[in-house]
């Protein structure tokens, strides 16, 4: 059966006027309805919504529960970074702890993909919800280690890599780490 829709619209001037008035009234009715509703716009920056902890924005370098820098400068984050925005130089502290002598992230280049956080074996590098990094001078988007370091453990507050690693640092000597036997006595013949 053929349905001709055009046939249903009233023809003539009266019909057109009626249709127009109806449409305008419906529009104003919607507007009028919202005038008496509470607004949903958030007045940024006066209002700042709390973002989920896993939001991927500005990167931070966290500390272990003992307050030490977690980053051991293993180069995994810089290796995995698809835009090569992370660079660092590892070095050794006097107690044998490996750390980053300098650590630089170029946020002008960062795409906040989170691969660095995924690769990090010590939970040091983490993406935080802090997204307000807009700058006029592009060089201020190049963050050094002191800009990146925070004084907490981020999303993983309890982990301390050096309690597990087995290398000698101020945290523990041989056999002094979690799930380790005391060192073998090479000079003994006892079974």
């Amino acid at each position: 059966m053929r349905v001709d829709l055009i046939d249903k619209v009233p023809s003539g001037a009266i019909g057109t006027l009626w249709e127009g008035t109806k449409a305008i009234a419906a529009g104003f009715a919607t507007t009028l309805k919202h005038v008496f509703r509470p607004p949903i716009t958030e007045e940024y920056p006066e209002f700042r919504r709390v973002l989920p902890a896993r939001t991927r924005a500005r990167i931070v370098l966290t500390r272990d529960p003992d307050g030490g820098e977690r980053c051991v400068a293993c180069y995994l984050c810089s290796g995995v970074c698809p835009v090569s925005c992370i660079s660092m130089q590892s070095a050794e502290r006097t107690d044998g702890r490996r750390f980053a002598a300098w650590f630089r992230i170029n946020f002008a280049r960062c795409i906040y993909c989170g691969l660095c956080e995924e690769a990090c074996p010590t939970s040091a590098i983490q993406l935080s919800p802090m997204f307000e990094t807009c700058e006029r001078d592009i060089l201020t988007l190049v963050y050094e280690k002191e800009d990146l370091l925070v004084d907490h453990g981020g999303k993983d507050p309890d982990y301390n890599f050096y309690r597990h690693a087995g290398v000698v640092t101020a945290i523990g000597g041989k056999g002094g780490h979690i799930d380790e036997d005391p060192p073998v006595n090479v000079r003994s013949n006892m079974p």
């Binding site: 180069y75 130089q89 300098w102 074996p121 010590t122 050094e144 890599f161 041989k174 006595n185 003994s188």
Partner: protein, 815 residues
Amino acid sequence: MPKLTIDDREIEVAGGTKVIEAAARLGIMIPRFCYHPALGSVGACRVCAVKVLEGPVKGVQMSCMLDAADGMQVSTTDREAVEFRRYVIEWLMMNHPHDCPVCDEGGHCLLQDMTVSGGHGIRRFPGKKRTYPDQDLGPLVQHEMNRCIHCYRCTRFYQQFCGYRDLGALSIGNRTYFGRVASGRLESPFSGNLSDICPTGVFTDKPSRYFGRRWDYQRTPTICINCSLGCHAVTSVRYRQVARQEARMSAAVNGWFLCDRGRYGFFYASLPGRPRQAAVKGETTTMDEAIAHARSRLETLPPDAIAVNGSARSSLEVLAMTERAARLKGWRGPAFFADAGAAHNVKTAIARLEEGLAVSLGEIGQADFILVVGADPINEAPMLALALRQAVQKGAGILVLDPRPVCLPFGFMHVPTAPEALGAVLGRLVKKSIGPAGLDGPAARFYASLPDEPATGQEVLARAAGLLAASRRPVIVCGTGIVASALVGLAADAALLLTAAQKKAGLFYILPEANSFASGLLAPPESTTDRILKAVVDGDVKALVFVENDPFATSPDRELLERALAKVELLVVLDYLDTPVSRRAHVFLPTQTLYESGGIFINQEGRAQYSAAAFAGGAPILETGGSDHPPRVYGTGLPGADPQPAGQIMAQLAGEPMASEIGARPEYFGGSTVSELAELPDVEAFPEEGQRLSPKNLPADRFKSVLPPSSAAESDELEIILTERTFGSEDLSSYSACLETREDEPLAGLHRRDAESLGIREGDGIAIRTGNTTLEFAVRVYDNMASGVMVVPRLQRLPWQGLGKRVRRQDIRKA
């Protein structure tokens, strides 16, 4: 030739080949830890399991222990074999610490690769991990024993392959420990290889500790230039800093390994004090201005009053450009050798290395008798000692004729012989070991000219003559550093005579420096540094140009050098090192190292090898950033990238027509008077194992060498032998701070008889009066060296430059 099938692919291999090798030939990498092509199989790690479906023994077998057999069918992917390997990996990981992020091996770790490829990820074993105490093994190797998987590669390499005993396996069973009896510096000069062969991070490279990961390094195939052997290396550069050097496999030259001098001899390239700016009279300026200044000064002088000095640490490109500039402009030189003796020895060696006689370092291991004459392998060319040891392991006998107290990591016969008597002993030995039958013409005449009086009381020589007589592939290794000029030719004639006596004889020279061969090809016969310095003192030469040459390190006559430098009107120095002469230069022009410019080096057997440029130059970030983060600036260009290849600077100093030819390769060699060089391939197409250059025609002086008359009479003089040491005497590696503790004590050596006649005991100090000065040395007394000589190591710390060639006994007194 057994023909077997591995993973449904057929391959035919030589008898005795292991299945793991046969698979490697097909490109199938069977997992392995304990197996290493240079060290062989022990079947300790069990990770190379494969399943033999058809063959003499069926079932899961260790492919490194299994000889390939005809009709064998092997599967590396069979479920049973894969499962087996996965379990092996899992229990190897049982005690492995959780420290990959702080381990320097991470990124090129065989254990990491095998764990990932074996599919092991989650630890199932709930028990605790075994730990070990670590040792301080000196400045080159870092020890972290927790990581060990007990493959025994380290101790097999250290003891079996190299012949040193101070590192090995201790304790038993689950406590097996690899280390020394007590902490301390590793004694072997090959200890750096431990970090290469350890499949995990027990032994890691200490000088580059925590510097970078393998994936961050710019890795380039290079040639080691710390001695004349030209071993193959891989150089790792990061942040414009040469950080690490590893061995690169080369069947013809060094095999799988590299000595510590070569491995750690690169630090000069990234030294913080390396001069990177041109200077005129001490004031830094741009390269262009300094070159223009030097050129204008040179142009005011007659060409004959300008003399050029180069050295054998420069690449062939630099040497050829230097030679060409001097030739086109009519300057004196270039002198590439300190004195006429050194030049003559090298030139003779080059002329006598005829095709068929010259053997490569790799072929040394196949010899069945090796005669080492006037050479101290471990000190002059350490990798040669390793090659000699491989020959000894296969049953070769080795006789060393040398005045010095030679020490080698294997059993050998040593006849301490004074330098002038070396020829006579060599001649006598060769004559005794072959008969006159079958010799004709010049060979017979040469045979007749050799002395045949029996050596007095030398039963060692008789034994060696017997071994030489029985040998089929003897090799004569001849040094060129301390020997009299006639010996170099005599060694070649002796090898020819052995060839005439139906032996497959070989000849192997050791040359003084990395590019001595090229220097010898290019150097004009009569120009040497000492002559040029004399001409400066006489007033004939007014300007000196030193191209990558530090005469304070090489010139034996310090007094003449000082007088010449005081008198010279213009001193132009081109160098990449901060040397005494570069600090005194009127015009200093910084040059690029081999790592920046790349270049061809010709090793002692005439093998021209290309070392590629590892990076574009510039000062290391560690330096520009002051060890903190790199400077926060945007800009183009590299800081500290002023240095240019020395050859290009020479072309600019010479002016037209050379200056406009820069960059086009043929100009480096095309105009050369040396025809051999014109045949060298383009650097892009340079063969991996290099190209051997040999003399176009048979040398004219075959069988013409004459034995020098040897004076047996007791002289009232001691002959001074200036000798190389493994560490501390070679120019470039002496800039490596990590090798400083490896240097020998600066002691002069005396034979016990000489020491007693002088009233000197071990450890005494002596004062030697030479000319107007008195030099002081401490003495070590030896029994296994020639008498009538005094051995003085050319250590930078010893004032050997003033000694001269001989010293009278009455001028030596106890200090």
